[in-house]
């Protein structure tokens, strides 16, 4: 049995309490809506692309601690990176949260705090919602759903 503190690590609780980049972005060049119908998590992701670089990124919405913290950490992680780099991060993050809990995963720094969701299968979608929404924004798919 996994411990609750694996899921609700201090860094996650901190990002839930004080989400970073948590606001609208009036001069966004790309936006996308993410929605998890299972629990009602909803977020809007704003991207400002300068050439191929994510020069600014922000989000708004309501969701559980996992989805909010994941969105917050994601915005920190991709800001200043190229679209291709963010796409690579998406793949690595996705691999990390979907690897069975008994198998080793890559160290992704702060993002690794979310690897705990692997012990709580129904919560994987909470952690990945923001990332799917980011991918949609970068490819300009207007709406995504994790269902």
């Amino acid at each position: 049995m996994s411990d609750l503190s694996d899921l609700y690590q201090e860094v996650i609780l901190d990002h839930n309490r004080r989400p970073r980049n948590f606001h609208a972005l009036p001069d966004a060049s790309h936006t996308a809506e993410g929605y998890n119908p299972l629990c009602g998590d909803r977020l809007t992701l704003y991207l400002k692309l300068t050439g191929n670089v994510i020069s600014d990124v922000a989000f708004e919405g309501a969701g559980c601690a996992i989805s909010k913290a994941s969105a917050s950490m994601m915005t920190d992680a991709v800001k200043g990176h190229t679209v291709a780099e963010a796409g690579d991060l998406f793949e690595r993050f996705h691999r990390m949260v979907t690897t069975p809990p008994d198998r080793p995963v890559e160290d992704m720094g702060k993002l690794s705090s979310l690897a705990g969701v692997r012990e709580f299968p129904v919560r994987v979608k909470c952690a990945s919602l923001a990332w799917h929404t980011l991918k949609a924004a970068m490819t300009q798919t207007p709406k995504v759903s994790t269902e």
């Binding site: 609750l4 629990c39 009602g40 998590d41 969701g63 919560r123 909470c126």
Partner: protein, 413 residues
């Protein structure tokens, strides 16, 4: 209730012993099952009835002359009579077996309402319906050019009867209202709802999915035109539901689905329909499901529906007090007439996080919108955590929920 048979004294420990699943553990802790509004657990009598049907009788119904088929038919029709008696319908011709309550609502929406709804006509539901009592009416209105009207609820989660009455117009063709809200616990004044609608000549469907296992649901007293319920919330198996309809309506309605069992004769030129209730039961029915439901209703009556209701009332009062004593917890749904549902939010904590943390303590609750998104919107919240009660729950289980919620407080301190 059957005259002359006083129900046995309600013995909680004996009731609990009748439900095998209650002795299992979850995450190393005893199971505290508080998600009964989603589905109830099954007493051994139901499990045994299903097993002995498949072990000793299994055959198809209504066709074979052989002994097993006759026994299967007899058991299936005995179940129908059991359902008739439980809901006090006038005749077994008024009792249609469906898969679930949703199918019953769809049956009425397709075969009764769509024929009556013309462009500009109206159908009425309430603001606290489950999605299953919203979407079929949206589809019916979309297909016919009719409008869906929604009777509002107040801040307690009670239906505003005057507003419902005001929505009844000469264009109203049907009203479909819940007997008890799955998200709020509100019990609606169904007799008054039906009386108001009938005064304007409007037929009514009552969704008794939640009410039917908490209180006496008497279709003659309610006088609704239709009523639906589902077996798996009545301590019976999944896959079996009930549609009650007044015989005159059912006679006039065309079949819902075509196939075997619902016809009296078939040629390639035309087919003629079987008599009620079989006209609405195409194909091989869920025979074991009906037999399981029979055993479940027997079990409820033997335990005593009134005694069950009294026990659940005690738990609801106890649980409400317990929740209100926890810092930052707000109960959603405070109707004066309310049953068995404790829906709540906790300041600063999303319901989904509450659900995960209390699950670690072996406490099973539902979190989210409970298939009633408009209700959540009405209260301006993304969802709630919901503990819902059944006959086998205990004060100790609610205490466990309280302790688990203290843990939530600690994690999110």
């Amino acid at each position: 209730m059957i005259a002359g048979t006083a129900p046995a004294v309600f013995d909680l420990q004996r009731v609990r012993a009748d439900f095998p699943i209650l002795s299992r553990t979850v995450n190393g802790r005893p199971l505290r099952y508080l998600d009964n509004a989603a589905t109830t657990q099954k007493p051994r009598a139901v499990l045994d009835a299903i097993a002995s049907y498949y072990t000793g009788i299994n055959a198809n119904v209504h066709r074979g002359v052989h002994e097993l088929s006759q026994q299967a038919t007899g058991a299936h029709e005995a179940a129908r009579e059991r359902v008739r008696a439980y809901f006090n319908a006038a005749s077994v011709r008024e009792v249609i077996f469906t898969r679930n309550a949703t199918e019953g609502i769809n049956l009425v929406a397709y075969t009764f309402a769509r024929a009556r709804l013309k462009p500009g006509d109206e159908a009425i539901i309430s603001a606290m319906e489950h999605h299953s009592n919203i979407v079929p009416w949206q589809l019916a209105c979309e297909a016919t050019g009719a409008h869906l009207r929604v009777a509002p609820i107040d801040d307690r989660g009670e239906l505003i009867l005057e507003e419902f009455d005001r929505l009844l117009t000469p264009r109203t063709r049907i009203a479909s209202i819940t007997h008890m809200s799955n998200a709020l616990g509100t019990v609606t004044p169904v007799r008054e709802i039906v009386r108001l609608a009938h005064a304007k000549g409007v037929p009514v469907l009552i969704d008794a999915s939640q009410a039917a296992y908490h209180m006496r649901v008497d279709v003659k007293a309610i006088d609704s035109d239709f009523l639906v319920a589902t077996g798996h919330k009545l301590y019976g198996p999944t896959g079996i539901g009930v549609l009650y309809g007044k015989e005159a309506h059912l006679q006039d309605m065309p079949p819902f689905m075509g196939g075997g069992d619902m016809i009296s004769s078939v040629t390639f030129e035309r087919s003629t329909w079987n008599v009620l209730p079989y006209k609405f039961e195409a194909g091989t029915p869920d025979i074991a499901g009906a037999i399981g439901l029979h055993a479940a209703l027997d079990y409820i009556e033997a335990t005593g529906l009134e005694a069950i209701a009294a026990h659940e009332r005690d738990l609801l009062t106890y649980g409400t007090g317990l929740l209100q004593a926890i810092d930052g917890v707000r109960v959603i749904g405070t109707a004066r007439d309310k049953a068995s549902i404790l829906s709540f939010v906790m300041e600063g904590v999303h319901p989904h996080d509450i659900g995960t943390i209390v699950d670690r303590e072996g406490v099973a609750i539902r979190t989210g919108h409970h298939c009633a998104q408009p209700v959540m919107e009405r209260f301006g919240i993304p969802g709630t955590a919901r503990a819902s009660l059944a006959m086998y729950n205990t004060r100790e289980e609610l205490d466990a929920l309280g302790r688990a919620l203290q843990k939530v407080r600690e994690v999110f301190a």
